[in-house]
Symmetry: C2
Subunit: 343 residues, 2 copies
Amino acid sequence: MAEVENKQVIFKGYVERTPEETDMEIKVGKIKLEAPKGSGAFLVKNLYLSCDPYMRGRMRDVHDSYIPSFVPGQPFEGFGVSKVIDSDHPNFKPGDLVSGITGWEEYSLIHRTEQLRKIQPDDDIPLSYHVGLLGMPGFTSYAGFFEVCNPKKGEYVFVSAASGAVGQLVGQLAKLHGCYVVGSAGTSQKIDLLKNKLGFDEAFNYKEEPDFDAALKRYFPQGIDIYFDNVGGEMLDAALDNMRVHGRVAVCGVLSQQDFSKPRGIYKWLNLITKSIKMQGFLQHDYLHLYPSFMEHVIGNYKQGKIVVIEDMNEGLESSPAAFVGLFHGKNVGKQVIRVAHE
Amino acid sequence: MAEVENKQVIFKGYVERTPEETDMEIKVGKIKLEAPKGSGAFLVKNLYLSCDPYMRGRMRDVHDSYIPSFVPGQPFEGFGVSKVIDSDHPNFKPGDLVSGITGWEEYSLIHRTEQLRKIQPDDDIPLSYHVGLLGMPGFTSYAGFFEVCNPKKGEYVFVSAASGAVGQLVGQLAKLHGCYVVGSAGTSQKIDLLKNKLGFDEAFNYKEEPDFDAALKRYFPQGIDIYFDNVGGEMLDAALDNMRVHGRVAVCGVLSQQDFSKPRGIYKWLNLITKSIKMQGFLQHDYLHLYPSFMEHVIGNYKQGKIVVIEDMNEGLESSPAAFVGLFHGKNVGKQVIRVAHE
């Protein structure tokens, strides 16, 4: 079989600072559109790629994390929605739609087939939602909120980066659960979406708050039971000072940090003791047994119009470095996705 | 009934820094050795008083903690072992021995009787152990280790301030549970006790380690599963960098911190995310349903010689300010107790 051109986003080398577009480069390789016999692999055409902040961790030269770092000179990889073109795997056939870890390129030969699952087509659910609402970010929201935060009806919930892929669902799950929910974000457009489209009780623009502690005291005069943290740093510190006894902090993201080798110190950690607070990092991967109940809960509420999705769709693989870098400057409005090819 | 003299340790005023002896003063008051009719109270003679680092928190001018601050001009209070002298409470009678919250004074009129429990006399167990091994510190060790740390056999456990009231039992419980246990402390005498009397696998003197990270890497080349933290600050930071994926940190004490208004920053918090770490403060009070199993476990092992107790006993109420202040300079060797009166 003849080779075809395969545009790729190549990872250039390790960084600790905020990613920049020059950390990636677009190259055009060649690929045979077949899965070699005996490989057990399948060959996919990538339709949607997901830009997720956690990927920044894979750009670091650290090797004790839960997930391996990218390999310099090789393509980025991340969650995507793809269509099987050729398969040597008994459970996948050409035409199947799959979601899971794929390459940032037009076509990928997938060897680690266990990292993808078949998509059941549903006319009511856009395919791209399989890397957002129904993908890793959505499941992170679900597992983090219900399993790590252990929410009770009526509790006070704070979500940072609240219009992002994870935050927007955490807030809506919290509202559906009967909590009082306040979100923070960085533009007036996002604040408007949080209050008027996503149903948050309140929202504030952190860029207009010179004193995060004062802002949180204003929105939570009675204190915070649950802080779902997507930013870390100064806001995490302020939240710790405003937690209630038995508060829970799900530490999910670190969008506030420019340089991972010089993170801002957290000073308010004494609150963990005086208020008996749990602060926990987590991997959605550890909760996969909940995936069926997650799908049922989220799809059901989505179809009833009780969950709304805000998606930021960029067109073309060439747009992906800028879109990815934009995550760290709050440029995305909602879940950032790249459409690589039309279905 | 005539009044008698009642020596008291009076709290002089709020502080954020490390306590000093001048924060307390000994005064001699007067007290009637009776429980007023209709009060439901009882009058005790205090035999042993417990010096515990958490009491420092009650010397602060903060009022959102799980426990109220001391009242300037009033006596210190804390855990003690006392003998009932007069009682207006149906469940307590003169001669009963009780343990729980009492005043730092020779005699106390106890109104909050629910904060004390009757001691079942046992010739094999010194009375003072009811404020140590079998009291709050012991139960803190038990609840913190088993409930917060969720230990598994074979895991790697690090305990700081390891010869203290809490640390010494955490380490022994961890050994009995089949863990590998390393402790840190601040004198060679304590290191010797940890290794040769308390059965720790290894122990090191943190004052002789210029680089805590290097020390932990030496003692835990494979990383730490559980860190039972009694000191906070720099050691907590170093431990976070050496935790394994799914590690658990029980934040129990902050002995390293001189000034609570200016705590050292924690910089290694990104590990919570990359390694899915749980870091949790806790109150032994929240686990009281486990008290019977705690007593059974600890008394059983103690009587079989599988748990050893190291106690630092000072004589006389006058010695209590210095003994309490000494906690924050590592002067105590083992659980610090004051003998106020002989039984």
